[in-house]
Symmetry: C2
Subunit: 387 residues, 2 copies
């Protein structure tokens, strides 16, 4: 096991009707808040009205910034920073999924910073301070509700970049599975693929022994594999929605990655597809991850045998290590297909070939991934497998 430090102070408030407590939670930190959200969904499901009622009950003044898009952009973040500065706002409430939360996190870092917030993403400056934020989660997928990570798209350079900084850790995350009943089948499946990917980026490691974390990863994947078909068949199954919602948080709060070297190569390739083609993040991962696996499994075949046996229940005596490993990868692909997700670039609607261009953009800070280090040729090959 590798040395590690772990710290996650986000308070999780989980369950039915928990969103009604939001005013009281914010009141612990501030009297004025920026509500940050996407579109009309939160109004359609009655969430917006509940939030406003709770804020009014606590006498909290609020400003609003809506219109966050999937693959959140820098322009919106600049707008948020300006509103917070102009109105002396010290707390942001993100209401939505990963894009909204990531946007709020970047705003939180940008408010007290004199320079351009994008400099943090480009490694040209280090965050020293941030205003506080809280979350009401409506889409379980990104795990941003209790992570110290944000991923933002610079629409000018077509770059999508992640940033890790503990100052952005939300003070609280309110998770009510009922708020996820109306998520479409496709978005539900995309969420499942994103959660699976967050676990797999940690699971596929060359660290020799990390038994407990292996087991926790495998349990989280089993939970997603078992519960996603249930909610696709019955979108209002509270208990299964709850399992998926809690798994989304657990998958990305850091616990599943301690003591091991994580990979994150596939995520970066997925981000390229998001930046260049604007495709849904979860869908891009459903395409990239199996392709990455087929390209790298030989570099630690025993780990892929374990994945096949423990996650997919494949008998490890079924064949050679290679046959078992490939059957595991095939099980993952079939699972994605069955959920209605694309598993090839073609199915994702991408038929041109900008593989080399994307690889070069991704490699400007050096090779990516840790399971094996990926260079340009590797990345192009993975994209080719994904065709």
């Amino acid at each position: 096991m590798e040395n590690f430090s772990f710290h996650n102070s986000t308070e999780i408030i989980f369950g039915k009707e928990t969103e009604s407590s939001v005013g009281g939670e914010i009141k612990k930190y501030a009297d004025t808040v920026l509500l940050h959200y996407g579109g009309h969904t939160i109004k359609k499901i009655g969430l917006y009205d509940k939030v406003i009622r709770s804020l009014k009950n606590e006498g909290i003044k609020y400003f609003e910034l809506s219109g966050v898009q999937p693959n959140p952009t820098l322009a919106k973040i600049y707008e948020g920073i300006k509103i917070c500065r102009d109105n002396d706002i010290k707390f942001i409430l993100a209401i939505g999924g990963g894009s909204v939360i990531d946007s709020a996190k970047a705003i939180a870092l940008g408010v007290p910073f004199d320079g351009d917030v994008w400099d943090f993403f480009m490694g040209k400056a280090q965050p020293k301070d941030a205003i506080a934020l809280g979350v009401i989660l409506t889409v379980p997928a990104a795990g941003s509700e209790s992570s110290a990570v944000t991923v933002i798209k610079n629409e000018g350079t077509l770059m999508k970049k992640g940033l890790h900084c503990h100052l952005m850790l939300p003070k609280f995350a309110i998770l009510n599975p009922e708020l996820t009943f109306s998520i479409s089948a496709f978005q539900t499946a995309c969420g499942a693929a994103d959660i699976m990917a967050h676990v797999m980026e940690r699971y596929f490691t060359q660290t020799k022994k990390a038994d407990l974390t292996d087991r926790l990863c495998e349990g989280t994947m089993r939970c997603i594999i078992e519960n996603t078909p249930i909610v696709l068949a019955n979108p209002k199954d509270y208990d299964s929605r709850a399992e998926i919602m809690w798994a989304s948080t657990m998958a990305h709060n850091g616990i599943l990655g301690v003591g091991r070297i994580e990979d994150w190569g596939s995520h970066k390739l997925g981000h390229e597809l998001g930046a260049v083609y604007g495709v849904a993040h979860g869908a891009s991962l459903a395409v990239i991850f199996p392709a990455w696996m087929k390209y790298v499994y030989k570099y630690n075949i025993k780990r892929f045998v374990q994945f096949a046996a423990r996650v997919w229940g494949i008998d490890p005596c079924f064949g050679t290590d290679e046959e078992v490993a490939l059957k595991g990868i095939d099980s993952l692909t079939k699972f994605y297909s069955k959920m209605g997700l694309p598993v090839t670039l073609k199915e994702l609607g991408i038929t041109d070939d900008r593989f080399a261009e994307m690889a070069e953009k991704e490699l400007q800070w050096g090779p990516i991934g840790n399971f094996i280090k990926l260079n340009k040729e590797d990345i192009v090959n993975i994209f080719k497998i994904a065709k």
Copy 2:
């Protein structure tokens, strides 16, 4: 899944040589510290010297209170409170296992409180404030290093009582598996039984669906079952010691109990044995837990079938549900025996019968446990099974 809130802000600093950072960690909070520990072990393994060196490097002034015993007592806590008050100490460093940490937690609560700290345990007063504490863990078992719980013995009344309060959550916990190399085989086994018990108190629930947490519990138990024999055979196996150390923390940091109604009946019976006979906590649990299981399994046999199948790898088609469930309980008992633990009261050295007396003492606040509520007759019967 039940509604829940979860918050755990303890910073985990895990791995080789991490104890050398302790001065810097304390410096974030205070310039004066009370070192609280048991006996000579920390000197024998060189830990004491390393801590002093680190404190001196940071210019931190220190006082000492050693001599904490297993089943920590109130007298020592009063002593610690006085030292802290007399010297305006605002930080306690607990160096040891659960008893030392629990003692430090009670001191931390007692320092700013005008009345008798025992009143908190008896429910006669509510803690409002505490001084800060940090931990260097030397015995992985109790999970106290990142829990909000302390268990103290009142040597006057022979009462052992637990208290839950977030003010006691350690600021940091330093976990170096190398510090556990010299733990005796018996203490290692006791630790494993304690960790298993912390998981099982959460696992055995009547909550209908909590899939993810079930899986995480099962994974943690598997990790203990697989790694304990390795360290018993080779006490200096770093990776397996690391697995056990991290499992001890995970088992009791709250994550494994979210969304489900926990039990804790067996722990309370174990505490009775600790209070009355002074037996090691882990050993008492190795005796009580299988007895409790044999008494209650019929009240949710499917959960015991799941325990047998997923934790012990017993084929659920092997027999009737009852046969499978009993085979699971038997596997646990055999595991304890094989590790050299007592599995009957007789093996624990208890041959008299104070069952009714202990039951009455434990029941003065009402029935205990949640899987089924235990009354006096139930408790006496469980003790009888444990004979």
